[in-house]
Structures are given as C-alpha cells and as structure tokens.
Symmetry: C2
Amino acid sequence: MPATLARTRPEPAVLSAAIAELHAAFGNRAVTSQAVREQHAHTLTWIPNQPPDVVVFVESTEDCVAVMRIASRHGVPVIPFGTGSSLEGHVNAPYGGISVDTSAMKAIVAVHAEDLDVVVEPGVTRKQLNEHLRDMGLFFPIDPGADASIGGMAATRASGTNAVRYGTMKDNVIALEVVLPSGEVIETARRAKKTSAGYDLTRLFVGSEGTLGIVTKITLKLHGIPEAISAATCSFPSVKDAADATIVAIQTGIPVARIELLDEVQVRAVNAYSKLSLPEKPLLLLEFHGTEAGVAEQVERFRAIGDDYGADDFQWAARAEDRSRLWQARHDAYWAALAIRPGWKGQSSDVCVPLSRLAECIDATKKDIEENGLIAPIVGHVGDGNFHVLPLMDENDPGSVERCKAFMGRIVERALAMEGTCTGEHGVGQGKMKYLAAEHGDAALALMASLKRAVDPAGIMNPGKMVG
Amino acid sequence: MPATLARTRPEPAVLSAAIAELHAAFGNRAVTSQAVREQHAHTLTWIPNQPPDVVVFVESTEDCVAVMRIASRHGVPVIPFGTGSSLEGHVNAPYGGISVDTSAMKAIVAVHAEDLDVVVEPGVTRKQLNEHLRDMGLFFPIDPGADASIGGMAATRASGTNAVRYGTMKDNVIALEVVLPSGEVIETARRAKKTSAGYDLTRLFVGSEGTLGIVTKITLKLHGIPEAISAATCSFPSVKDAADATIVAIQTGIPVARIELLDEVQVRAVNAYSKLSLPEKPLLLLEFHGTEAGVAEQVERFRAIGDDYGADDFQWAARAEDRSRLWQARHDAYWAALAIRPGWKGQSSDVCVPLSRLAECIDATKKDIEENGLIAPIVGHVGDGNFHVLPLMDENDPGSVERCKAFMGRIVERALAMEGTCTGEHGVGQGKMKYLAAEHGDAALALMASLKRAVDPAGIMNPGKMVG
C-alpha cells in the first residue's frame, strides 16, 4: 500500500477540453487570466506561487457539482478556494487544475437561534457571520485572526484565540454538505446535538484541507454573547513566568476565554508598528466571559496567580472600545513582526504541545533563536499549549533562508519529542508534509492515504497536499 | 459501489484451524465453552443471542495483534468485547468468529494531572477510573449509566447524563492506540490539546463500533472535580412544561452539568421499585457544577425559569450523600421500568432531535404510546435533545412484539422528520442498521461502506453491524 498518490499534470489536450467545457458551462465565471490565476494560488509566506490553470467562480452547490463532474471526467485537479488566507500552500496548484472560488457563496442560509446553530455557505467569513448574529445576542467564537472563510476554516480545522474556551472547528462544526469527487452530494450529519449513527463523516471532512471534496454548506454551533466580558493585559519578568501562570490558570479550571502570550521581541515590534508604549517584557492578554459575578471571580482568581509569577502593569477593560485597544497589540502582531525587516518574508510555525511541556518548549526555542542569531517573535495561544514563531528571512540571502528553514525543522522536532504536533491550527498543506511520517508513523500515514483513495480514487481533489 | 459487505460464516475447517492456533497461542485464555460464548454475545434487550465460536481473553496490545494476525490469515470475524453492556447487539457474532474480551486490560497507564489527561487500557471501567482519580481532585465526566468499559464507550461514541456540559466521547477522547485488521498498531494522534495534522483518525475510530480495529489504549480528557456541586429535583404539571423549562435553561446559557427528565410513568415505576414517594408528575433532576458563588447563581437562575413553567416540590442537595439520594430515581430508572412487567423485555430507543423540537417530539411520542396502549416510560438527557423510551413487550405474545417494534420504528421516523438522529448515544449495532439509509441517504452510507473497506478490506472486523 503506497503512502503517496502519484500525480502528474494533465495533458494539454485534456486540460483544453476541460477548460472549454467550463467556459461553456460558466461563461465569464471561468477565468484563465494570469493575474487571477496567481491570486488564487499561494500569496502569503515563503512558499512559492503555483497557479491553477483556470478559476471558476461558483455560486451554488449545483455549480460545484458541475465543476466536479467535468473535472472528474477529464481527471483534472480541483482546488477549493475561500479567501486565500491559509499559510501552508493549501490553495497552490502544483499539478495545475481548477481553482473553485467559493467566495460568492456568502449566504447565511438559516439561523436557528433556539438551537444555537446556523447554516452557512462556505464563502461566508467569520466577521460577516458575527455582524449578522450580533443583534440576536449570538456569536461564533472561532477566531483565527484573518477574516477567513468558514469553508476554509473547516478545511484546515482552524482555531485561534478563543479555542481555549470554545474549542476548535472540530468542536464547532455540527454538519457539512459536501460535493464528493463523484459529483454526489452528501450531508455528513443531522442537526441534532449528538449522534452515534455511524462513522463520523463530519470530522473526516473537518481538517481534510480540500483533499476529499468541496464543502458547500456548514452547520455551526453558536454561543450566546456573554452577559459580561472583561479583558486584561499584564507583563511578566520572563516568558517562562508567563507560561507557568497560564498553566496554573488552566489547571485550576479558570474558564478563561482567551489567554495569549507575546514575547518581548513581539511586544517591541508591536510598539513600533502600532505606536504603543507597552512595557517591553513578555505580555499576557486575557479575556474573561460570563455573568458579571462570574467574570469578577475569574479576574480575582487570575490576579492571585499572576502575583505568584511576578505579573505587573495590569490593565483592565470591560467596555468594548477599551478591550479593542488592549487587544490591538495582538491583532497587529503578524504585520508588526513582518515590519521588523521590511521586504523580508516570514513563515509562521504553529506547534502545539501538552501544557505541562509548554514553558520548556518555548524556553528551548528562545535559546535556539538566540544561538542562531535569528529574528523570530513569539505569539502563543498558550492556554492550549500552542504557539507561533515567525522567523524572518531575507530571500536574497541563501544563508538566511537556510538558517530559517533549519530552525523551522528544529521547532517541529522539539514539539514532537514532547508528544506535540507539527501543526496546532494551520494545517499541513504543502509546507508540513515532510513532518507527517515522524508525527504519525508510517502505518497511520498509510491509513490516511487509504482513506483518501477510498473517497477520491482518481486523486483529483487538491493533489500534492497533506498525504501527497 | 455496494453499500453492504457480504459475509458468510467461515468454513468449519477454516474455523477449526484458527481455533487451534488460538489455543496454541493463548492456552486456556482461548475458551470455546457454550456458557462463555453465550455470555459474550448479546444478553440485554430483545435482540437474540448470537454467540461467537471462541472467546480470547487478551491481556495486552501484543495479544490483540496475535489474535488479529490469526483471524486475518484465516478470514475469521473478530468482535471486540468490553463489558457487554451495549444495547444494540454490537457484541453478537452473526457470522461466528472470535470474541476478543478486553476486560483484563485494566491498567491505568498514566495520569498526566498537569495536562488534565489520562491514558487507559480499554477494559478500564468508568467507575474504576473515577475511583483512581478521586484523590487527585480529577474526574472523567462521561456517564452512560452502566459501568461500561472505556473501550466500549469509545466504540459507541457514548455520552449520558453529563454530556450536556462535558460533551460525548467524541469530545473527550484525545487519542487512541488501535490494532488494525492488518495487525499493524497505530496511534491516532498525539497528546497535544489540538492538532491540524491530517485526517482526524481519532474521530474515525470513536463511534466505529469495533468495525475498523481493536482499540488497545485510550487517552482521555479529564476535568477538575468542581469546588461546588449542587443537585435538585422538581416536578412539573406536564412533560411539555419540563421540556420547555429545559430549553430555556440551555438557551440562556446556564452551564447545567446534568438535566434529566423522567415522565410520570417512569416516576411511578421508580417509586414502586425503590420505595420512594416522589410526586407522580414529570420530574427534572438537575446538577450544577462550579465555584460556590457560581453554583448559587446557576441555581437562582434555574429557579426563576422553573417558576415560569409551574415547577414545584423543589428539593436541593449539596452534600454528596444527599445528592445520591436525589439521583437514586434516575439511577434505578432502567431496572424500575423493566420491573413494571416482570418477565417482559424492553428495548431502549435513544433518538436525539434539535432542542427546539424536543417538547413536540416527546409530546407526539406520548400520544403514540397512549393511542397504542403501550407501557413505555420516558427518561431523557433533555438538555441535549436526547431521550429514551423503553417500550415493554411480552415475548410470548406476537401481537405485543409487533406493536412494540412498529412503535420503535415510528419514534425514529418522527425524530428523522425533525432533523434528528435514530441514535444519540447507543450506536447502530444490529438493531438500527435499518434506519441508516433514511438518516444519511444512500451516497453518505456508501461512503461509510467505502471507508470500512479501506480500513478492513477483508471485512473481518465485527461484520454484520453498522454499515453491514
């Protein structure tokens, strides 16, 4: 049983025939211009751009079925596209093919406020969804930073700042409508809160990175907007102190909604980028959700823990506008980091380790950064044991490129040695395929490849990603 | 692509050869006595007993690998066995084969208190696990009623009374060690709290009912024992009032840990069975977990909702022994129901519908019971939209059998029409296979069958269950 599915580009004649059929079916919604094709391949980070041969702007499930039937008949690759904010080359087309742009599928199909769920099309973004829900007193908590599409977030099993309390996409997707490579349309589950009726198709497709089908509808869990929200920032003498305070807060069961770490390098970058004057020490940003009394109690309990680890410069905010100000440092982190060296590129790692190993893992990583003279700010969803390091590299200097790539490999190696994973939330895409054998072992990886073949025997869905 | 995997019993000569090898490898841990074989097939509910040909009492992952290699070489079915408490014939052997009794695999391999997780062998029962954890201030919340094995609970995607707050096995299994039909051993994930590294193998095996492999280790999420726990019972004028109060409590975000309904028929049965004197009206049993102040606040808020729906006879208990007394009615429910007609058998349905449809679904079911003159008490995990009806039938009266089976079909039909599922927590086994096409549609069911074939091409794992 080979672990990889071999692929080559379709023959030019085959491709032309497929594109002609797409033009006939979709008219000017099937686009082959160089600029549009490049926009629909990877445009962030240092992974090279590999454009598809054609982009189809779909508007419905039926459109996706039509694309899939054409692609399947000709054996041409299909690459689902949301907003293009993925970081690991998921939307690249290493074997050419059809990019299926779902960004026009933006309908919020049904809000079931009584059941705390919503049905959306894949092109709906998380900000659009939360705007729509606000007046109903509801919200969708998953926040990966970028205003990603819900389809893309399901595809990468996204999470982000709120996951420590509300879970990841794995926990918040109730059901999916999916167009299979055969062109058949399935629903993975019903709208009930739980079920034991067969294999968990929903979780098979969540995190499958477009390699098994096109997601055309998503049913999501919602939450009531908390009665009270309070945010805080505080500084610590060292990254280890901040991580240790986080560990104790989680272990003692404080239901913190967000707990984010910025190391001193990242704080300096944010001060420069956003014209702030935060103390240039490791910083925790926190948010507490609950009733008025419940939030007050959480704040009190966290404060006591912070004191034990030398926290100071506490700032608190309960009003929405003040919270936004405190969170500005976090929201600007990615662009602030890139601004340290204008013109250089970054690649964000996202390892996740058991909480008990977090302080040790971050500490060792900081030593590695120093010893190798890298510029690599750290931002972490530390309540989950998940953190990002963004090494910056000068693409014109082969030595710089080499050092950064080697460093990325060591971060993953270190996390795996601590029972962690190479990716907590960004997904595998092209960038992390090389780590999967070490993480899962050959037998589990072969099992993944056999699942892929069972769903997509011709290998047309997003080839060259994840299991290859 | 056929949706079913055809099976027949192995030829007698093949079976003899396999059993001889098992005897050689396991000595007196491979047992063929009639009594032991019957104990290892289905013994509860009205599904007939279909014994395996041999029972192997395994003690390690290596034992499971050895059984699997023998079974695989001879093409003999393998049926994993935990405590035998499943309700849908999961442990039956319709095509004969080898029952793999994991009850001696009872090691609690590692408690990672700092990470709030534990690694256990599949024969560990939930009571054993909680006894072990108590002194560390930790607990494992999933409680399906029976003292089931953790392996069996993972296999059926079990849940129960605490799921409304803590989720189901889907949410509480972090990783599994599995012996595949090939004899290879895989780990489905690492111990980190979240990951986006490939297909979600953990969730593929959770709920797979022994049809894909033998689970030999389970890593579970743990929770801190709450600082405060308070339990309550209260009575309502009607089942609809109780269900409506539940819906409002959930919708307004009270983080209730348990909210269970007993209808008046069930309350009467419990009064008779357990010599209690509860008001013979629909009853809610509740439990609240949190800090002292948090629990007090939850209680206050629930009380206000209860008042709106005519709740009375409130009884509260914060001490462990008083809580046990209040919960006695719930814990005795199954046996109390069976005691209504000694000698008759029951079969518990477990449909689950969106919360907004719950009151309507229970109401229609009660009318159905009355119109058809059935004895069928109702007990529900109503916070999840999940409820059990246990129609009693006289196996010596074909009319009684017929009426009960037809009623079970109507319950499922009604739930499916309300976007619900045929099984919220018991699983499919043999008993609910007939409902899967209506619930999932042919294409999704065919996809499940193709996943099954990908993992178990020879179809040796628990044949005749779930996808057939």
